[in-house]
């Protein structure tokens, strides 16, 4: 048990935890008599510093992961590094959105829970062992339940938290049950060893049961159909920064986990150069047999999420619920990327080439990470705008946005950019993320099913323009009911403008973010 190695690898999480403790100490011990503004300022400041310190600490944890008994427990580099860096940036942005919010006086506790949940997310993103995955997921989820309930004077917040908690608890139970079956099948909780054992055993009915249970548990986290029912209520009831956090950081962590589980069948390659071609081909066929049905389940969930998410959003009147259903739809697009199976399994060379496309540059895991990071960024901005309008008008219904271009033109412009990006209009980053993802999916697997699903995804994207335009129509076209200007906290406005600018910049110069993600894989 090499504790110094463990400490090195978990240095970022440690930084976050220390920052959380510092926030609590500062707020509870020193600032009891101070005004709310000072306490908010100090909490956010410590939070941002903590995220910055964790970001700096990433360089130490990158390089090699932490292994226990020879098996990798916490990976670094590649997916883990990108996801963790993304989580830290998105957490920092969520904390900045907190400025000017007045839903709670317990600001120190809020920021501390955010930081601790972010640490949980970081663990999830780098976990390679079932138990570590579960610990990380629970740390993340428990934090999110608490954050959802934070607006103590709002009945909706409490209702949302109860629904989220009950749903989440059940899903965690399913997940653990599925994990226990995987352990029972393979005798190990380490992902690589599990995959190794499964490949040599081949498919079995118990494996499919286990996989369905795991998909149920993880599908809840990413709000995929049919595990999505918590999302609209939670997005509606939770305080805006909490909803932004759920919509961004939690998604990044969950998709990083899905990529880890779905794409890291490394052990196949162990045999390719040992001269043991018989064993290699046997494992290849095992892989085909297992992954074709497990991928099929993911494809069904992805298609259902795209359809249900977009169609249900058409009927929404509350912008928060609209964002929730759109989150479900976007989860569908991303799951399409996760479910991609290399099409041609007839020869090892072709398989390896296709598989390298999954893992390497322009592969689907890169594309999914790019998508979820940019989606998280855009969603935080969207929730920031909704929060401002909500505070000024008292409700988040579409009609509260009437005449926004007159009441606060900068805010309206930010809303325009963010919603058009979510709809997938070029030259914004949302379009590039979609194009990249669909091109990657088609690049890995050709054939009628991937084509049909990409066609479905594009068609559903077209549907989504309608409901985003409904909100923009209120903001720009329809006459205002109330023309009093809407004031925003300067920090909030700055952050929102910065996010909108980043959305435009990343859309016009896609190689900026893409190049960085690819570099992290090398």
């Amino acid at each position: 048990m090499n504790y110094s190695d463990l400490f090195r690898v978990t240095l970022p999480e440690t930084m976050l935890e220390i920052a959380a403790l510092l926030v609590l100490v500062a707020d509870l011990a020193f600032l009891r008599k101070a005004g709310l503004k000072a306490r908010v300022f100090s909490a956010i400041l410590f939070g941002i510093l903590g995220c910055g310190a964790a970001f700096w600490a990433l360089q130490y944890s990158a390089g090699s992961g932490y292994s226990f008994d020879g098996a990798l427990v916490l990976a670094q580099g590649g997916t883990a590094l990108v996801a963790q860096a993304g989580i830290l940036v998105l957490t920092a942005l969520t904390l900045l959105i907190l400025a000017g919010e007045d839903f709670t006086r317990h600001i120190g506790e809020f920021v501390a829970v955010v930081l601790m949940a972010a640490a949980g997310g970081m663990i999830v993103a780098s976990a390679q062992d079932l138990l570590v995955i579960f610990v990380g997921l629970e740390l993340l989820s428990l934090g999110l339940y608490i954050l959802t309930a934070f607006a103590k004077t709002s009945g909706k917040s409490a209702e949302a938290a109860i629904k989220y908690y009950l749903f989440g608890g059940m899903s965690a139970a399913f997940l653990l049950f599925g994990f226990s079956y995987l352990y029972g099948l393979t005798g190990s909780t380490n992902l690589v060893e599990i995959q190794d054992a499964l490949l040599s055993q081949g498919p079995s009915p118990l494996l499919y049961v286990a996989w369905i249970l795991v998909v149920a548990g993880l599908g809840f986290k990413v709000a995929a159909v049919p595990f999505h029912l918590w999302a609209p209520d939670t997005y509606e009831g939770a305080p805006a920064p909490a909803a932004a956090f759920i919509a961004s950081v939690s998604k990044v962590a969950s998709f990083a986990l899905l990529i880890t589980i779905g794409a890291s069948w490394h052990s196949i390659f162990q045999y390719s150069f040992n001269g043991d071609s018989g064993e290699y081909l046997r494992r290849l066929h095992s892989y085909a047999a297992i992954w074709s049905s497990t991928a099929a389940i993911l494809l069904v969930v992805a298609a259902a999420s795209m359809i249900v998410g977009n169609l249900a959003a058409l009927a929404q009147v509350s912008v928060r619920r609209l964002l929730a259903y759109s989150a479900i739809a976007h989860a569908g697009y991303m799951l399409l990327g996760i479910a991609t199976l290399p099409h041609n399994l007839t020869s090892p060379a072709i398989f390896i080439a296709a598989f390298n496309r999954i893992l390497g540059a322009n592969g689907t895991s890169n594309a999914v990470l790019y998508y979820v990071l940019t989606y998280g960024l855009t969603t935080i901005g969207a929730f920031g705008v909704v929060a401002v309008v909500e505070r000024a008008t008292g409700s988040d219904r579409m009609d509260s946005f009437l005449g926004l271009h007159k009441r606060n033109p900068v805010l309206a412009a930010v809303l325009l950019i963010l919603f058009l990006s979510l709809a997938g209009i070029p030259p914004l980053v949302g379009f590039w993320a979609k194009f990249n993802l669909f091109a990657a999916v088609l690049g890995v697997s050709a054939g009628p099913i991937p084509f049909a699903l990409v066609a479905l995804a594009v068609a559903m994207s077209a549907v989504s323009l309608y409901y985003y335009l409904q909100v923009l129509k209120r903001a720009y076209v329809m006459p205002a009911v109330d023309e009093t200007p809407i004031k925003t906290h300067p920090v909030t406005l700055l952050v929102l403008v910065a996010i909108a600018g980043a959305v435009v910049l990343a859309g016009v110069f896609p190689t900026l973010l893409q190049g960085w993600i690819e570099a992290a894989y090398r």
Binding site: I425, A439, V454, V458, Y476, P510, T511
Partner: protein, 513 residues
């Protein structure tokens, strides 16, 4: 020092795009209330774009495909910021410049949210220039989609009849069409090996015939939706009627041509085997070429007949646009030199003429009479009270009917000759469309301007009995510009044909050049 510095003026064409978007951005940051400054800046931007287009056109006669700029954009996926212009592009850039200048001139009287209007207008123009100049499929698609959002806001905010419905319908139809194109784009890119999205590269990618057989109708239909092909045309009359004058001019004049251009540049050039015979035929239709040609002919006749039945002046023009775009699509489907040359010329010609028609109906007549109903206009005797409008519409009507001396005649004649070579029945049917075209134009002309219905004082609830507002200089300039161009091209079509013909020849010879 500068003796070696001989840039090809054609490379200046990229600035049409940059200037338009810069102009749009400038409009956004202008302080509110400076309407006059906003208008003149917009006019300056549009004129600059036109000037660049004219210069590039004049200095490049005889040149083939000229690359303007080729910068790697996403190198790992083979996507380049590749702008290039062949003869077809240069002619259409010229059209866009003319439509932009005319559009700004005919929007001189807008008083509400002027900055925002010209910002959306110039952004739309920038997107259109971008589509015509892109030679990378991804870049073309980006500009194609960029053009959708300004259209929505232009109609929804400054439009008239049922504007919110019309704007949403137009935006959704366009977006669905571009979604179909995106699917085709992704499929073609992946099937060609995911190496490059350049039009030239994809044309030489040897996509299999079976792939082209399903990809071509998908991509062609996607673009043809925006070109107003029957039966996907219903967004067009609704949208054109609801849009403010300048937006109608742009929509009917230029944006519908985006769809036809996409059909040509992406559909026919990249996926030519999609037009091959299927091997079997059903009531005379044996290939996608036959299918789309028949749809085009139906569009010509249907558009004309429905225009004949309209009671709203602007709807007549709207449906006439559907009918004229049918000629463009028919010309494209002839797949011979003369037919396709006629199609491109018709794109230019109809762009000018539609702009002129919408300008007269929308700006000159409607803004003064406050009615577009032909029954009410009948009682107003506009030939005496608005003689400028009457004469302008006579000229525009003659051009629209295809009278020799105007550009429409040259274009439609070439399309008809080309379609006779391909299939005589198409020509016969299209000829019917021309006859009906004369009918609806004369009907509108007679009812709106030259009617004999006696005047009753209580018959005009909309006008106050006084003389109409005088014709302003922007209107005169705009009408003169557009009518003059149509006349010039009609009398001496070689100015454009010399550029179009070689480009069409090259396109027919080997995919995109």
């Amino acid at each position: 020092m500068f003796s070696n510095f001989h840039p090809n003026p054609v490379t200046l064409l990229a600035y049409t795009i940059y200037l338009s978007f810069a102009g749009a951005l400038l409009q956004v940051v202008l302080p509110k209330g400076k309407n006059s400054l906003s208008r003149w800046l917009a006019l300056g931007t549009a004129v600059a774009g036109l000037a660049i287009g004219v210069v590039a056109f004049a200095t490049s006669i005889g040149q083939g495909l000229v690359t303007i700029i080729d910068v790697p954009w996403v190198p790992s996926m083979g996507i380049h910021f590749l702008l290039a212009a062949d003869g077809i592009s240069r002619v259409l850039v010229l059209l866009t410049g003319l439509a932009a200048v005319a559009g700004v001139l005919f929007s001189w009287n807008i008083e509400r949210r002027v900055n925002a209007f010209f910002a959306f207008f110039l952004a739309l123009i920038g997107g259109v220039y971008g589509v015509f100049l892109s030679f990378d499929l991804f870049l073309l698609f980006v500009f194609y989609e960029i053009a959708i959002v300004p259209k929505y806001f232009l109609i929804a905010i400054w439009g008239s009849t049922r504007r919110e419905y019309a704007a949403m319908k137009l935006a959704l139809y366009s977006f669905v069409g571009s979604a179909m194109v995106l699917i085709g784009l992704l499929a073609a890119y992946a099937t060609a090996g995911s190496h490059s999205t350049g039009l030239v590269a994809l044309a030489h990618a040897n996509l299999s015939v079976s792939f082209q057989m399903w990809c071509f109708p998908l991509v062609f239909t996607g673009f043809a939706i925006l070109a107003g092909m029957w039966p996907f045309h219903t967004w067009a009359p609704t949208g054109h009627v609801a849009a403010p004058t300048a937006a109608s001019m742009l929509l009917a004049g230029v944006v519908m041509k985006l769809g036809a251009y996409g059909c040509l540049r992406v559909g026919i050039a990249l996926l030519p085997h999609g037009l091959d015979p299927w091997g079997f035929s059903f009531i005379g239709i044996g290939s996608w070429r036959d299918v789309f040609a028949v749809l085009a002919v139906i569009g010509i006749i249907y558009g004309a007949l429905v225009a004949l039945a309209q009671t709203d002046f602007k709807f007549v023009i709207g449906y006439s646009s559907v009918s004229h775009m049918g000629f463009v699509l028919l010309g494209l489907m002839t797949l011979n030199q003369i037919g396709m040359t006629g199609a491109v010329l018709q794109m230019f010609s109809h762009g000018i003429i539609a702009g002129l028609l919408f300008a007269i109906v929308g700006r000159i007549v409607y803004e003064r009479t406050h009615t577009r109903q032909l029954a009410e206009l009948e009682t107003m005797h506009l030939s005496k009270r608005l003689p400028f409008a009457a004469w302008a519409f006579v000229i525009a009507g003659m051009a629209s009917m295809g009278l020799p001396g105007f550009s429409g005649f040259v274009a439609e004649l070439q399309v008809l000759i080309g379609s006779w070579v391909a299939n005589p029945w198409w020509t016969a049917a299209a000829g019917i469309g021309i006859v009906v075209g004369v009918a609806y134009t004369w009907r509108a002309l007679q009812k709106a301007f030259f009617s004999d219905v006696p005047v009753h004082a209580h018959d005009h609830p909309h006008e106050n009995g006084h003389a109409f507002a005088a014709i302003t200089w922007p209107e005169v300039t705009g009408v003169t510009l557009l009518a003059g161009v149509s006349l010039a091209v009609g009398i001496y079509p070689r100015i454009l044909l010399d550029t179009i013909e070689p480009a069409v020849k090259a396109l027919l010879a080997g995919g995109a050049q």
